[in-house]
């Protein structure tokens, strides 16, 4: 039913459904969304320019702080790009440890997301249960790396810490617990009417739209497209570890839930395999501080999808240019497509459905509107323009 006139509903930057400051402007007709305009940029910190002002070793620390949830994916991507420039390769044991930490991170990120999704549909009991069980994987990560969120495992040329044999039985025990619980949650999610009513046929993204709008990660896989950087362009030890790409043909929020649950189970199996088949040997190779001139692109399958880092070196100890393309940015056009035609009450769960991480996402580019030309600027000009705009100069 159409009311013939539309009203605008602002959403954010501070909103209970958004954990981060971003703004969406919805145009609604009655209860139906007819248009959505994302206004991104509240989280923009200028991290790419910060990369250019630090040395390669300091940048590992900074790359980790691009995002707190997929911090390991960002450092893996960063060190791979630099290793590519240097022409070195991490030792086999280091590559296995990278896989184990990356998959543990995927489990933590997906169970975190499942909790948030349950919270967005008003099912707080499930949220609390999921987050209680998530502590098991946080404990493993703390055991292995010494920290719950920023693991600081990767370094250029390998990893910084070993997974010692005493910790392995503990890790396996926790994984068994997680597997049991995840299977139980899958059973609950498939049969619980509260979940089904709020997620089935909500936020539909057709496969052709998903491909056309360049969706990535679980959002794309939930539309039935088999796409995974771990399989398409293997890095670390992913070419040696068997795994399935989890897809679902539902194309809605419910299939995104199922895909993520399936990925948790896949990750558990991958970690078990990697722990069994981990080769012995050294953890890192020594690398020079100075990186020779050149460019490199590195791709990693972060929990949210394909993550791309680009680095350009001019032969000094600092990168000349650094670029991060995070999976959430790739998913924003698909998100806008999903939202159109949906009810206002479904906004939170559809927004949460792509697992947004706005901290990774906010980049900035200067475009001259009259000539439609992009401008490349250095740190000082950026600083001047931004400070002038905010009347700080």
């Amino acid at each position: 039913m159409s009311y013939g006139s539309t009203i605008k509903v602002p959403f954010g930057p501070q909103h209970p459904a958004l954990k981060e400051p971003e703004h969406f402007l919805f145009k609604i007709d009655g209860d139906i969304i007819v248009n959505v305009k994302p206004r991104i940029g509240y989280n923009h910190r200028g991290i790419e320019k910060a990369f250019e002002r630090r040395t390669y070793i300091q940048n590992i620390y900074l790359a980790e702080r691009i995002c707190g949830i997929c911090s390991d994916a960002h450092t893996t991507c960063y060190v791979q790009a630099i290793e590519d420039l240097l022409g070195v390769e991490a030792p086999p044991r280091a590559r296995y440890i990278r896989v184990i930490v990356a998959e543990l991170e995927r489990i933590h990120s997906h169970s975190l997301w499942l909790g948030i999704a349950a919270h967005e549909i008003g099912f707080d009991t499930l949220f609390m249960h999921l987050w209680r069980d998530r502590e098991a994987v946080m404990d493993i990560l703390e055991l292995i790396s010494g920290n719950r969120v920023h693991y600081a495992m990767n370094t250029i040329g390998g990893v910084r810490r070993d997974i010692v044999s005493e910790t392995i039985p503990k890790v396996i025990g926790s994984l068994d617990f997680l597997e049991k619980r995840t299977k139980y949650y899958m059973k609950v999610l498939r049969s619980e009417p509260t979940v089904l009513k709020r997620t089935v046929d909500i936020g539909v993204l057709k496969p052709e739209d998903a491909v056309e709008l360049c969706a990535v990660g679980p959002t794309l896989r939930a539309s039935g497209v088999k796409n995974d950087v771990r399989r398409d362009d293997p890095y670390a030890a992913y070419d040696e570890i068997p795994f399935n790409i989890v897809t679902d043909d539902g194309c809605d929020v419910f299939s995104r839930i199922l895909v993520r649950c399936g990925e948790i189970l896949e990750s558990i199996n991958m970690i078990r395999y990697a722990l069994d088949h981990m080769p012995s040997g050294m953890l890192r190779v020594r690398v020079p501080m100075v990186v020779k001139p050149g460019e490199a692109v590195s791709r990693v399958e972060a929990p949210r999808g394909e993550l791309i880092h680009y680095v350009k070196s001019n032969g000094s100890t600092r990168p000349e240019r650094y670029k991060v393309r995070s999976p959430t940015l790739a998913n924003i056009p698909a998100l806008c497509k999903m939202l159109i035609g949906q009810h206002v009450a479904d906004i939170p769960i559809i927004l949460a459905g792509i697992d947004p991480c706005f901290a990774c996402m906010d980049r900035l580019v200067f475009v001259d509107v009259k000539t439609n030309k992009k401008k490349a600027l250095d740190f000082e000009s950026f600083r001047k323009i931004v400070r002038k705009r905010h009347e700080l100069l």
Partner: protein, 175 residues
């Protein structure tokens, strides 16, 4: 315009809040104070952080750590909140929003800076789009450093803040 009129200094805020502080012989206000200490509600606002502190703050509300057993509740609206828990360095874009959210909160209000970025700006201090720590914009009552702080540390910060509120009352009683 709003930013110009707002002067973030501890002393000015203190003076403003002291109007609301309890005199020992005033019964209804004592009740308010009691309620505030027993059950402070928290508003969480990310001012441009990396999500690390956010998930740890949220983890503090979930069964393993469970600050809800102290009557502390995570709130969605600034109008219902007593404590503003800020995570992340304050970006220029979000600065005005942060002040507006702070203005919408009812008096007396307290600010908890969670994480190194909220305390000082940490690795983003020199970025062109970052103002710095929260204390550059708002008066901060308790700092919880760490990158990110563990949920236990956040709980400790909240408990310290409650002690601070109690302390104010004790201070007023003694006068």
């Amino acid at each position: 315009m709003r930013l110009e009129t707002f002067k973030p200094s501890h002393s000015s805020i203190k003076r403003e809040t002291s109007k609301f502080l309890v005199k020992a012989d005033e019964q209804p206000m004592n009740l308010l104070k009691w309620a505030r200490i027993k059950s402070p509600w928290i508003l969480h606002f990310n001012t441009g952080g990396c999500n690390g502190c956010d998930i740890e703050l949220l983890a503090a509300f979930t069964p393993r750590f469970d600050v809800e057993r102290f009557g502390i509740l995570l709130q969605g609206s600034p109008r219902h909140a007593d404590i503003l828990a800020v995570t992340g360095p304050v970006t220029l874009q979000v600065r005005e929003r942060l002040v507006r959210i702070y203005e919408q909160m009812p008096e007396p209000k307290y600010v908890l800076a969670v994480g190194s970025c909220a305390c000082s700006g940490a690795p983003f201090k020199d970025c062109y789009n970052v103002v710095g720590g929260v204390d550059k914009v708002l008066p901060v009552d308790v700092y919880v450093p760490g990158c990110p702080p563990k949920p236990e540390a956040i709980i400790d910060g909240i408990v310290k803040l409650i002690q601070k509120i109690e302390g104010e009352e004790a201070y007023e009683k003694g006068r």
